[in-house]
């Protein structure tokens, strides 16, 4: 019995730091990352990328993808905050991990990086499909670009692409402009057209196509031009973030260090843009940037401070909310001028832009419409790259009470006069009629 106690206390003391460090709404940046590899060689060949993560304070746990001991959760608690799948050829995960487990991992708010490669296994393809992108069905296809390839010593087959068609969002790829093209070599994918959550971060040039570079092209390629996405991200509705790319080698030390010259361009860069691009992107993926929170949603009548249970029609009210952005270490006030509040009952009755005080406090005051019913204060803030804010607070609006109407209306004075004069007249008439003989 005592032995178990020792083990228990020991395990608690070991686990405790992890538990304290884990992802929470208060500190949204991920801490514990599980990296699944096909081969431990990747650990060293991609060490620059991993080191940049470690330097930023992440706790990387390297495992082989078919390790029978890997598990994402234990006793209903997730052991990791993020998952990196650098295992394009794995046919079957070890342990209790499968596609459903990974999808559940994402659906409970955790982040995911998937790097596929040529000959990506069905398993990886399936995970990607669940996330809204489809890799080229031809297993040996690669993205080929005969005009946008990266110039190298050997002529090659033009599968090494230098791409600089980035998404235009400072939040996702950092405010510092990426000057150097990014090297890519691998399989292309397309986005599911009905999925509005998936974004193309790096797309292929219009001259690219996806085919097997070794065989002759007999039928037209199924994926062509800028429909091919090289790197995509998904921000799920619960703000879990997913990065999908068809090239594992773009994370490698070799690509990080190699110089790049895009064909047809005379400028030759000493160092490719991969490091900057992928590091910045990983900051976004791991919630070091673009993560908003809204707190202290308040509303009250203009002169009062307490929040009422319901409003009356034509009340003047004030609505306020505080919005902060996570900077990676602390919550900073988020300053913008495009946050709007709706006073909503089946359709917005009032739509008003909130003004801010530069300290993160957004507020607006307006008059309740002359309509009763169950309204909602709605803030639907969806901005490219930022986590979506969707606040709604239900508030009933009641009509006037019986004693809240005006008691005497000036226009009605003739009627009051008529009523009282009739009464007086009737009284006099009765009196005269009865006693005047």
């Amino acid at each position: 019995m005592g032995k178990f106690w020792v083990i228990f206390v020991a395990s608690i003391s070991i686990l405790l730091p992890f538990l304290c460090n884990s992802f929470s709404p208060e500190t949204p940046t991920d801490r514990r990352v599980l990296v699944l590899l096909d081969d431990f060689a990747v650990k060293s060949s991609h060490s620059s990328y991993f080191n940049s993560l470690k330097l930023r304070g992440f706790d990387l746990d390297f495992k082989l993808a078919d390790d029978p001991k890997i598990a994402l959760q234990r006793y209903g608690q997730y052991l990791y905050d993020a998952l990196i799948l650098f295992c394009p050829s794995v046919e079957r995960f070890g342990g209790s991990v499968d596609v459903a487990a990974i999808i559940n991992f994402v659906d409970s708010g955790h982040d995911l990086i998937i790097a596929a490669d040529v000959n990506a296994s069905d398993l990886i393809r399936e995970v990607a499909t669940e996330c809204g992108v489809d890799f080229d069905e031809d297993p040996s296809a690669m993205v080929i670009d005969h005009t946008g390839y990266a110039v190298s010593e050997t002529e090659g087959d033009h599968t090494l692409i230098a791409s600089d068609d980035f998404i235009k969002s400072d939040v996702i790829i950092g405010s510092k402009k990426i000057e150097v093209p990014v090297l890519f070599q691998g399989i292309g994918h397309s986005l599911n057209p009905v999925n509005s959550l998936v974004l193309k971060v790096l797309s292929a040039s219009p001259s690219a196509y996806s085919a097997n570079p070794l065989s002759k092209l007999s039928t037209p390629a199924s994926l062509t031009g800028s429909a091919i996405s090289l790197v995509s991200v998904v921000q799920a509705r619960n703000n879990a973030r997913i990065l999908i790319t068809g090239s594992l080698s773009m994370f490698s030390n070799r690509f990080f260090r190699s110089g790049v010259q895009k064909s047809g361009s005379s400028t030759k860069y000493e160092k490719s843009g991969n490091e900057q691009f992928l590091t910045e992107l990983s900051k976004w993926i791991f919630h070091e940037r673009g993560h908003l929170k809204a707190v202290n949603v308040k509303h009250h009548k203009v002169v009062e401070t307490d929040e009422p249970a319901l409003y009356r029609i034509n009340d003047e009210l004030e609505y306020s909310v505080e919005i902060y952005e996570w900077s990676g270490t602390s919550w900073e006030p988020y300053i913008t001028d495009d946050v709007q509040v709706q006073f909503y009952m089946m359709s917005p009755y009032i739509l008003k832009t909130l003004s801010n005080d530069k300290k993160g406090l957004y507020s607006a005051s307006f008059k309740v419409p002359d309509v009763y019913g169950v309204f909602q204060f709605k803030v639907e803030y969806q901005k490219l790259g930022y986590t979506s804010l969707s606040l709604s607070k239900q508030i009933p609006v009641r009509p006037y009470r019986h004693n809240e109407y005006e008691r005497f209306i000036p226009t009605a004075y003739p009627y009051y006069g008529a009523a009282f004069s009739t009464m007086a007249g009737f009284f006099i008439f009765s009196f005269v009629h009865l006693y005047n003989k």
Partner: protein, 830 residues
């Protein structure tokens, strides 16, 4: 005990009561017994089940009463209820008749004051029986007023147990009608009394009676139209009198002023079309009075005739013009749909499905007349005969009341209730008069026999007397036989009434009872099980969508917000719910999300054989939904005009939300021995779509007998909107509109033959690997690739009306499965 009657008679003797006093004593004790009888006969439901509120509307009344006791009158008056009609809300205080609630709370307060620790629910449960007892007293006085005290007593007894009245006044039936019938009869009685006496005091009392009626029930419109009609008849038949003038004018003016104090009525009383008759008669009355005065002043009859003609023409013309102007300017609102449907029974069916959908608004069947009135149905004409024989202002009133209310009872089942007091009173006259005549005959004969035997002399007189004597034994025997017959009939009536009360009208309908296989009683308490689940397991502000029938119960028992309820004030909102229920799931989810619905509740009787469930009500949802949204078409849910849920059902029926929610996982269930799984006991068929898959909703709770099923609305997919297509369910042997069955016939493109493939098309997205593709592939074997695609496309488009599937994807998948190459560019247009 055996000595009781003897001792009682001794007691009577010892008191030496006179005949009159004895009669009074008997009358009072009979009345007391009737009073108690009327109360206890309504307690079957409490004994059989428990002291609880019944049905649908009473739950709303109970909830409002509870609110009134807790928050006081002013809050009740201004109550804005945001738990119903989400998100519109309902101003409860201004849209209900508060009489019932105020009455119950008053009784409650009095009992509390007398230190009886009762709960408001017990008061609510027993309010209706209490008022039924009071009604018997009013019936007695009314009978006495129009005929004699004997008729009054009989009327009290008849009405105490009449099923037509009991149906709405058993313990637990806490509805407006329970109080309103008392108020109705009281108003009529006092008004007749006022007409008979010409007393201002009685007239005032009738105005207050009317006020109480207005505060209690919308049926006050009947009073306010019957009384002017009655007055008009009196005026036409030349029975105008000062008594009538006083009674009517006082009652109308005061009654109107009082009625306008009820918020729900307000200015309607002077503005709406239904109240115009009473105003017209009021003015006519003044014209009559004026004419009377002129007649008094003018001595020349000819001059008066001319004057009369001019005045009457002018009055009618002015009235007509005023009415026309009022109608055109919109100041006088037109008649409401309910009023129209009373005058024209087919009106509601054609124009307002929401009124026609309520079972108690259906035209009455003959059997239910027999069921509710029994012998009164035959006594009623006899009573009318007696009334006509002794016409007076009072009997004219009861005749008018009887005839009009009988007409309305024929139009709507629920209005049998209004006719019941009239029928009881008129029948009481028949019974009382007959029995009286017969007993008089019996008694007088004895005297005649005595006198005849003592005198016994000759002459024409004596010969006629002898003739009478000879006929007397037959008359006497006849009278005795008739008396026995009458008593037999009345005893049959009593038996029938008790039986009906105990068997038919004492079921709370919220708890269902059935007989088990061994004759034991089985109780289905599923409704309350579901509502308590909602109360305990859902968030406080969860919104529940269900068909409107269950709205009041969900808010009262489940304490959750509902979208629509039994107060059917907003037809569009109800139609939206009807539309959601009759759409495909992915169309319905749009509506459901737009209404912020968290849970969907359906009532399903397929397991227990409970027939008034949502599937049987479904066509009304389609009709009401289609009345506002023409996308919903009733024929889409019918096959050759027939409503069915089995394999032969319409494809839209098999895939609409209501069908899916009711039959979700029902296909796995064995309901009856010797029947296939998925056998629906309420409709006696095997269901047509056993493989129901839900995408946006998930089952949250199903009660133990499957009567209530609750589904949770899933949040939108976290990662991406999966566009899974609606599976199309068709079967081999289905008859398609073209009229031919599906048979295999390979080689040629016959779209009608490809029904098997439709099955597949539905399954494609679900699980193509396991789909039995063989029969379909063999059908298109003989066709060239593109031809196959075109053929399938035509098949789908021709055969499945309004089915919404992504054809190009499904087709290419299917054809690929048949190892065919599809031209990639082939698109099967919608």
């Amino acid at each position: 005990m055996a000595t009781m009657p003897a001792s009682a008679s001794d007691l009577l003797k010892s008191f030496k009561l006179k005949t009159k006093q004895q009669e009074l004593l008997i009358r009072v004790s009979i009345l007391c017994l009737v009073y108690i009888l009327a109360f206890i006969t309504r307690l079957f439901s409490v004994l059989r089940y428990e002291s609880m509120i019944h049905e649908f509307d009473p739950y709303f009344n109970y909830r409002t009463t509870l609110y009134l006791t807790e928050n006081g009158f002013y809050d009740f008056w201004n109550w804005f209820d945001y738990e119903s009609w989400y998100p519109l809300g309902r101003i409860v205080g201004g849209t209900l008749y508060p009489g019932l609630m105020v009455t119950a709370v008053l009784i409650y307060r009095i009992l509390r004051f007398l230190r009886f620790a009762v709960h408001i629910r017990e008061v609510c449960v027993l309010t209706a029986p209490f008022f039924a007892s009071n009604t018997t007293l009013v019936a007695y006085f009314f009978g006495k007023e129009i005929w004699d005290s004997g008729a009054g007593l009989v009327a009290a007894i008849l009405i105490a147990i009449c099923p037509g009245y009991i149906s709405r006044s058993v313990a637990g039936s806490y509805d407006n009608e329970g109080v309103a019938i008392f108020a109705l009869l009281f108003t009529f009685y006092v008004f007749v009394k006022a007409v008979n006496t010409g007393s201002l005091a009685w007239s005032l009392a009738s105005a207050f009676g009317y006020f109480y009626m207005v505060s209690a029930w919308g049926g006050y419109v009947f009073i306010i139209n019957l009384i002017p009609l009655y007055v008009l008849v009196l005026l036409i038949t030349g029975r105008y009198s000062m008594r009538l003038y006083v009674a009517y004018n006082c009652m109308y003016i005061l009654g109107m002023l009082l009625a306008m104090q009820i918020r729900f009525v307000g200015f309607q009383h002077v503005q709406s079309g239904e109240h115009m008759a009473v105003m017209g008669v009021f003015f006519l009355m003044q014209v009559f009075y004026f004419l009377d005065w002129v007649k008094h002043m003018l001595s020349d009859t000819k001059l008066f005739q001319a004057f009369l003609r001019i005045t009457v023409t002018c009055a009618v013309a002015v009235g007509g013009i005023a009415l026309g102007l009022g109608m055109v300017s919109g100041y006088i609102s037109p008649w409401t749909g309910r009023f129209y449907s009373l005058l024209d029974p087919t009106y509601a069916k054609d124009h307002i499905p929401i009124i026609a959908s309520v079972s108690e608004h259906q035209p009455t069947a003959w059997s239910s007349f027999m069921f509710d009135f029994h012998i009164l149905l035959f006594l009623f004409p006899a009573g009318l005969y007696f009334c006509f024989k002794r016409l007076s202002d009072a009997t004219i009133f009861i005749v008018m009341y009887g005839l009009t209310s009988m007409y309305f009872a024929g139009v709507m089942v629920r209005l049998i209730l209004v006719a019941t007091p009239a029928v009881c009173l008129i029948s009481a006259i028949a019974v009382s008069a007959t029995v009286k005549n017969l007993t008089v005959l019996l008694r007088s004969k004895n005297k005649v026999v005595q006198t005849g035997s003592t005198k016994g002399s000759g002459g024409s007189k004596s010969s006629s007397k002898a003739l009478l004597d000879q006929s007397q034994p037959f008359q006497k025997n006849g009278a005795i036989a008739l008396l026995f017959g009458a008593f037999y009939l009345l005893s049959r009536y009593a038996t029938h009434c008790t039986w009906v009360t105990s068997e038919a009208y004492s079921s709370p309908s919220i708890v269902l009872a059935a007989r088990g296989a061994h004759g034991n009683r089985v109780i289905f308490d599923d409704y309350r099980e579901a509502y308590f689940w909602l109360r305990q397991n859902t968030p406080q502000d969860a919104k529940v969508m269900s068909w409107w029938d269950y709205g009041y119960q969900i808010t009262a028992m489940g304490n959750r917000t509902v979208i629509v309820d039994n107060n059917t004030w907003n037809n569009t909102h109800i139609a939206t719910v009807g539309r959601a229920m009759s759409s495909y799931e992915d169309e319905a989810i749009e509506i459901i999300r737009s209404l912020d619905v968290d849970y969907v509740l359906v009532v399903f009787g397929g397991v227990t054989g409970y027939s008034s469930d949502d599937i049987n009500k479904f066509l009304w949802m389609v009709r009401i939904g289609g009345g506002v949204f023409p996308v919903i078409k009733e024929p889409d849910y019918l096959v050759n005009g027939e409503y069915r849920v089995d394999k032969g059902a319409a494809p839209k029926m098999l895939n609409c939300l209501m069908y899916k929610l009711c039959y979700y996982r029902f296909g796995e269930m064995l309901t009856e021995y010797g029947k296939p799984p998925g056998y629906d006991r309420a409709r006696g068929v095997e269901i047509g779509n056993k493989d129901v898959k839900l995408e946006h909703l998930e089952e949250a709770f199903t009660t133990s007998n499957w009567i209530v099923r609750i589904y949770r609305v899933k949040p939108p997919n976290n990662r991406c909107p999966h566009n899974v297509e609606t599976p199309v369910v068709t079967h081999l042997g289905d008859v398609f509109p073209n009229g031919s069955n599906i048979h295999g016939q390979s080689g040629t493109c016959n779209p009608q033959n490809l029904g098997v493939c439709l099955d597949l098309l539905g399954l494609v997205d679900v699980n193509l690997g396991n789909a039995p593709t063989k029969p379909c592939c063999s059908l298109i074997e003989g066709l060239v690739d593109l031809e196959g695609a075109v053929c399938l496309c035509t098949a789908v488009r021709a055969n499945v009306l309004g089915i919404h599937i992504n054809l190009s994807i499904s087709l290419s998948l299917l054809l690929r499965n048949c190892e065919r190459k599809v031209a990639t560019e082939y698109i099967c247009g919608p």
